[in-house]
Symmetry: C2
Amino acid sequence: MKPVMRVFLYDDEGEKFFGEGPCRLLHGVEQYGSLKKAAESMGMAYTKALAMIKRAEKELGFSLTEKMIGGKSGGGSYLTPEAKEFVKKYESYRDACYQAGAGIYRAIFQKQ
Amino acid sequence: MKPVMRVFLYDDEGEKFFGEGPCRLLHGVEQYGSLKKAAESMGMAYTKALAMIKRAEKELGFSLTEKMIGGKSGGGSYLTPEAKEFVKKYESYRDACYQAGAGIYRAIFQKQ
DNA sequence: CATCGTTATATTTTTAAAACTATAACGATC
DNA sequence: GATCGTTATAGTTTTAAAAATATAACGATG
């Protein structure tokens, strides 16, 4: 038996708009310079990936990606500075929660 | 924007076997003395509720409910002492995680 | 100005979870 | 021994999320 924790960010209407999926997706965009390639790399449909980004951007009030359409390469997507900062914060929050949770679990379920 | 955290217990094969659903369900059993009524009270199908209980019991290695079949009332389900203790531990763990997470969120997303 | 692979949108199909239905066994009570 | 409402199991249906498909717009490049 082991503990698993998930952390999300919800809007004020109680709807989820950010979590591990979007976070990984943004990392993929950073790595590949393409939302399509980022989605493919994690086995996600492009349409879903696009919806994720738009959903999060709507709630956050700033753009997560800059998009270039056209050009020989077809274009691409790139993280905005705000996106990079936000991802950093989310990951700090997530990791600190994970670490705290692990300690609490040990204290409660494995105390001797 | 607000943080939401969920905590689960997984088995060693990486399969979830306990979380908020089963926890609420066990509270319902305690309250109603009936798995059927407990499931109904939370809008859950009885078959799903039964599967939940059996799944958790299988992993934990002890019974969560004692079942009485038959009798004028039809029977009923009641929590074992082990179940009550386990629910208490889970809720302590969950609540401590929630509280820790809220503090971490404030520190990271609302620092000034 | 034709080509390329992307972004973007709308629609359809697939899939898996959840819910529902049907049926049987049970046994204290009357 | 008939009745009742539960536990229990199997099979079916519904539903919503995910995935897949189709199509258009875009524009730097050669």
